[in-house]
């Protein structure tokens, strides 16, 4: 009995795949539409996860960027270097000269046109400083002190930036939630309509099946499979879109962040998140199909 039941489900699964393949354009279009809809909130989520991990990393090793004035001379640089070495609160620092910065910018792909059009080097010399303490007050004191050093244009204190970022992330999470809710409703609506059209074209089959003793479950099953498989496929599409974007962005980003000795690689969705995405998309497809079947199937009664 269980074997027969499994066979039945296997049969419906392959029947559904056959139907999907039988109308490749329609199937592909709805999968793409739903995939793009899903990729939007997921993409923002991934972006935020990355921002958050950056903020976490930075918080654990406090870091300041010292930007020198554009007219700073070699002697000024040497003087600052010396002061940094003497300061007991500073663990390590690294110098990025404006020539190095520009050179690296010129080497990087896609930015050649931009750098070629520059009349003079707009980049400042900079120091990247790692501090011993991570308490905001200590860092603030240090920042204020360094801001008063000669030839320093600006000291960027990253934890202030992180606080702002965290507030922004909170807002972002809200946006993701809203977008995800709205687009989930959209996906359910798309699925609802797709299944409605299918039920209309399968009218004869449904009626005949009912006439020869099919239960409602039997009739529902292929539509539910269809919805679930299409939902899952759009989840895979969304996942692929995001992977593609992250891979492409990483190539560009690597060039850019190397300039300021900032190790930044966009992280992809975690395994857990990926599984959640796929399960959620399958669930949406199933739900759309289930609602559609519930509201249309009873209309087809043989008589």
């Amino acid at each position: 009995m269980i074997r027969a039941w499994l066979m039945q489900h296997g049969f419906v699964f392959f029947l559904t795949l056959k139907r999907l393949i039988a109308t490749p354009v329609t199937s592909l279009l709805s999968v793409i539409v739903m995939g793009i809809a899903l990729s939007l909130p997921t993409g923002i989520y991934v972006f935020m996860e990355n921002l958050q991990s950056i903020s976490r990393e930075t918080a654990s090793s406090p870091q300041m960027s010292l930007f020198l004035k554009l007219d700073a001379q070699t002697e000024d640089i040497a003087r600052i270097k010396q002061r940094l070495e003497e300061d007991s609160q500073i663990v390590s620092f690294q110098f990025v000269s404006k020539d190095v910065a520009l050179h690296q910018l010129q080497l990087s792909n896609g930015l050649t046109d931009l750098t070629a059009s520059l009349v003079r080097n707009p980049l400042p010399d900079a120091f990247i400083v790692h501090t011993l303490e991570s308490a905001p007050e200590t860092l603030e004191q240090l920042r204020a002190a360094m801001q008063n050093w000669p030839e320093i244009e600006h000291v960027q204190f990253d934890s202030a930036w992180i606080e702002r970022l965290n507030a922004l992330l909170k807002l972002g999470r809200f946006v993701v939630l809203m977008l995800a809710t709205l687009l989930s409703v959209a996906i359910i609506a798309i699925m609802f309509n797709t299944i409605r059209m299918q039920i209309l074209t399968k009218r004869d089959e449904i009626e005949i099946s009912k006439l020869i003793g099919a239960t409602d479950n039997f009739i529902r099953r292929p539509f539910l499979y269809f919805g679930t498989i299409q939902g899952l496929a759009s989840g895979v599409t969304a996942w692929s879109i995001i992977t593609f974007i992250i891979e492409t962005m990483n190539v560009e980003l690597v060039e850019l962040v190397r300039l300021y000795d900032f190790d930044l690689q966009l992280q992809h969705l975690s395994l857990d998140d990926s599984i959640s995405l796929l399960m959620f998309s399958a669930l949406l497809g199933w739900l759309g199909a289930r609602l559609s079947v519930a509201s249309h199937l009873w209309q087809i009664e043989p008589g």
Binding site: R3, A4, M7, E205, G213, T215, G303
Partner: protein, 217 residues
């Protein structure tokens, strides 16, 4: 055994299709139902399979009251019945084999035995060589035989045929009647509605005739 007691059927538009029907068909019996178009033959057959529900009265099949059957129980009643529809009701998007397979899929038969069952049914109606054909490519007689194969493949206790020889010539009609007789000989209860008088000329089976929704003596 199929029993009708005081069965009325009035359609929503007010048309009375069956008027106080009392009727008993014993298990293993073969019965003909005649009458003009509109006399209520199709309605009576549909009531047995719960395709239509009676306005009043009771219909029992092996002791079960069909008139009070819950919607969820109807599929299981229909699986005990093989129904041959006037308009065939074949699925034109699948081949002969898959059309006959449908009742077995619906009843959750084990996949090991289904193929041999389908072929046995097709063999009985002489369509074994056409199992890969699509219904659209079949002649009228072949479509009718396909419909019979689908009705008997799950070995129902009751076989119901609504005008099974409708548009067929005499030769084909005789073939098909012979098939019904052979099913009846293995114990299947057979009900056949027909307005074709030539089928009834030399039959020894009971003939019920309907006239304006009433059974004539």
């Amino acid at each position: 055994m199929i029993t009708f007691k005081n069965v009325f059927k009035r359609y929503p538009d007010g048309y009375v299709a069956l008027n106080n029907i009392d009727l008993t068909v014993e298990s293993g019996e073969m019965v003909f139902l005649t009458g003009r178009s509109g006399a209520g033959k199709s309605t009576l057959l549909k009531l047995i399979a719960a395709i239509e529900r009676p306005t009043s009265g009771t219909i029992t099949i092996s002791g079960q009251n069909i008139a009070q059957l819950k919607p969820g129980a109807i599929p299981y009643l229909r699986r005990k019945i093989g129904f041959i529809f006037q308009d065939h009701k074949l699925l034109f998007d699948r081949n002969v084999f898959d059309n006959v397979l449908l009742p077995l899929q619906i009843s959750n038969f084990d996949n090991k035995t289904v193929a041999s069952r389908v072929r046995a049914a097709l063999d009985k109606v002489g369509l074994l060589k056409k199992e890969k054909s699509m219904p659209i490519a079949l002649s009228g007689g072949e479509k009718q035989r396909l419909c019979i194969a689908r009705a008997v493949v799950h070995r129902p206790n009751i076989l119901i045929a609504d005008e099974p020889t409708g548009n067929l010539d005499v030769e084909y009609a005789r073939d098909i009647m012979a098939m019904f007789t052979s099913f009846n000989q293995v114990g299947v209860t057979v009900l056949i509605a027909t307005h074709d008088a030539s089928l009834l000329e030399d039959t020894q089976h009971r003939i019920l005739s309907l006239k304006q929704g009433k059974l004539a003596a």
